[in-house]
């Protein structure tokens, strides 16, 4: 299924880019692009009315709502003007994730989920791990939120790849919980900016021991 492989490659590319970019603004745009890929994944695996509904929700949440929220949070925190270092550790992490996931897509996933879904499942796992890597390696709070969003996008793709569609209650529940968590983080980021005058996670060290 070549379209699945193409979507899988796009998913990995849109997950790798934000990790390697030094500024946040293009990362948010890439995240919106990844949302489009996910909507295509949802529709491609479920070409029926339920799939259209799911893809519409994905478009609304992952192409519009989440990028808008991140853009707003970063603008208010003046995080778009800041440049973050991309360390050798980050490059190493990206390479390690891609190699591990390649291995997974060849050795484990086809046996468990069939060859059709294996490529996308592996790409989804890559996106998830790269999101975690972004959170671990970035200092700015809005950038960490971006990492969280990438992680969730990867998991959404994993859900579609592994099960084609999740039960509606679970699908909506996960999406809603995640959106609420992001809104809460945006609100907390605003309070941190007001109290500290910055949004640098490395300087949040008031609680120790």
């Amino acid at each position: 299924m070549t379209w699945t492989n193409a979507l899988a490659d796009l998913l990995v590319a849109t997950a790798v880019l934000p990790v390697l970019l030094r500024q946040m603004r293009p990362g948010v745009y890439v995240l919106a692009l990844q949302g489009l890929v996910l909507a295509a994944v949802a529709l491609g695996f479920n070409p029926n009315p339920a799939g259209i509904l799911t893809a519409s929700l994905v478009l609304l949440a992952k192409v519009i709502a989440v990028p808008w929220l991140l853009h707003r949070t970063a603008t208010r925190a003046a995080a778009f003007n800041l440049v973050e270092k991309v360390t050798p550790f980050t490059y190493l992490g990206v390479v390690a994730v891609l190699l591990a996931v390649r291995l997974l897509s060849v050795r484990i996933a086809p046996a468990a989920f069939g060859p059709g879904a294996a490529q996308l499942a592996a790409a989804a796992l890559a996106a998830t791990m790269l999101g975690l890597l972004l959170v671990a390696t970035r200092r700015l709070l809005p950038n960490q939120m971006l990492g969280l969003a990438l992680t969730e996008n990867g998991l959404y793709a994993a859900g579609v790849a592994l099960a084609h569609s999740l039960p509606l209650l679970l699908d909506l529940g996960v999406l809603l919980d995640f959106l609420l968590a992001l809104v809460l983080l945006a609100w907390l980021s605003g309070h941190i900016r007001n109290a500290w005058g910055h949004v640098d996670a490395d300087q949040l060290n008031g609680l120790r021991g």
Partner: protein, 467 residues
């Protein structure tokens, strides 16, 4: 089924009533009255509802009781909630948090449990940040970020399990019922199930406070209003651990009997050991209680990890006693902080002389936690230790050494703070009345702690089969 729906709707009656201008001034009384009604409903559901079986019969009344005590202890919480509007908002979020805990306790489905646990993160984080102080906002950020990441990792495990079932043609939400998971587990690929279990253990373990994923725990517990810390520590951690244990047991036919148990055992021992030095050097009252919760979760995980009838019974009894005693200790801590205006232990040396009620409750609660005989955690901790020694003498000695150090260290702290020679500090403000919640909790926990293990042992089979 109607009683379950009623139980889920009832907590929200209080905010609706308080929206009426005539009742707004009596917000806490309305919330307290409704919470008592919810407690009654939870006990009724546990006793008579056919929908509630197995562990639900234990967990739902426990969440109902600790939630009610927390509302009762929230009459005048700390952190500048003197403003009635702020207090009403606090009570509203407390209700949301309690409701999400009830959802987890009622659930027999891994997917719904996951949703409920994620919801508890959001609702309780708002309460952690309640004071808007720098430290509170920082703690809330770390809490939401770490636990959300952890739960996303757990979601990956859940998706792997669901995906394998979907691949075998089973696609409804009911596939994730713990009973259904167990029934179909043998048909799943063992390597993938083990991978999923690792993701679930790491993910849910973040919420439980397993070392080294625990860094959010002391921060959030120390910054939340004291009654909320009680609910966080007493109920939330245990519920996350129980969801993890249920999943381990359900997937054991695929992963192998020992795999999930060994993960729990390993994390349990590590958590108990890692929490020990932090407990011994801790001078911050609420952080001390938070690290004690970590130690307790480690012990309970050891009990579940060993997996024998005796160990599971002790772990379940430990969950109940810990919920009631630890939440009570946090209520007392709230009153102490209000009276002395500082978090550090040396500030309130000689507590019994200056605040006898708080002093005696503090003394009793901490001695219960460290397992002083004949208090009710003594037999449960002893049973877990016996079971651990029968599994591995080396691990047994390591945990025994950690528990011994904690016993000596905490006993020293509590004797010094309650009975010390230090000159009692004069209260800056009068203490609150949260101690009433502690008194009620201890009154239930102390006799129950001795009766419960016997009752659990007699009825363990239905508990295990009806989960």
């Amino acid at each position: 089924m109607a009683d379950i729906w009623l139980l889920l709707v009832a907590p929200w009656i209080a905010p609706l009533l308080v929206a009426h201008p005539a009742l707004r001034r009596h917000a806490w009384r309305v919330y307290a009255a409704v919470s008592v009604a919810v407690l009654g409903l939870s006990i009724f559901a546990a006793a008579f509802s056919p929908e509630l079986t197995g562990l639900g019969r234990l967990l739902v009344p426990l969440v109902g009781l600790v939630g009610t005590l927390t509302v009762l202890a929230s009459r005048c919480p700390l952190h500048g909630l003197e403003d009635p509007r702020q207090h009403r908002i606090y009570l509203l979020w407390l209700t949301a948090f309690w409701w999400s805990l009830l959802l987890v306790a009622l659930s027999r489905n891994l997917g719904l449990s996951w949703l409920g646990i994620e919801l508890t993160t959001i609702t309780s984080a708002v309460l952690v940040a309640n004071s808007r102080k720098r430290s509170a906002v920082e703690a809330a950020w770390k809490y939401v970020m770490l636990c959300s990441l952890g739960l996303l990792v757990a979601l990956l495990g859940l998706l792997l399990i669901y995906g394998m079932n979907a691949h075998a043609g089973r696609t409804a939400l009911a596939v994730l019922d713990f009973g259904a998971l167990q029934a179909h587990a043998r048909g799943l690929a063992p390597a993938t199930v083990r991978l999923a279990l690792i993701f679930l253990t790491v993910g849910l373990g973040t919420k439980v406070g397993f070392a080294p994923l625990h860094t959010w725990l002391p921060d959030a517990h120390s910054e939340a209003p004291a009654p909320v810390s009680g609910l966080l520590s007493g109920v939330l951690l245990s519920l996350a651990l129980i969801v993890l244990w249920r999943t381990d047991v359900a997937l054991a036919p695929a992963a192998g009997q020992g795999f999930g148990n060994n993960l729990l055992l390993g994390f349990g021992v590590l958590t108990t050991v890692v929490s020990t030095p932090f407990l011994l050097v801790q001078l911050d009252l609420k952080r001390l209680l938070a690290y004690s919760s970590m130690e307790q979760m480690g012990l309970i995980a050891i009990g579940f990890g060993i997996g024998s009838r005796l160990a599971i019974t002790a772990a379940l009894a430990q969950i109940v006693i810990h919920a009631l005693v630890k939440s009570g200790l946090f209520y007392v801590a709230g009153d102490i902080l209000q009276a002395y205006g500082g978090k550090k232990l040396p500030r309130f040396s000689g507590l019994i002389a200056s605040q006898p009620r708080l002093g005696w409750l503090w003394l009793l609660g901490v001695f219960t936690l460290v397992g002083l005989p004949p208090l009710p955690m003594f037999p449960t901790e002893l049973a877990i230790l016996f079971a651990l020694f029968s599994r591995s003498a080396l691990l047994g000695w390591i945990v025994l050494f950690a528990l011994g150090a904690i016993f000596v260290g905490l006993a020293h702290y509590v004797v010094e703070s309650a009975l010390g020679e230090g000159r009692p500090v004069r209260a800056r403000h009068g203490p609150g009345r949260s101690w009433v919640g502690a008194l009620l909790g201890f009154a239930v926990a102390l006799p129950l702690g001795w009766l419960l293990p016997t009752a659990l042992l007699q009825s363990l089979s239905p508990f295990l089969t009806g989960r």
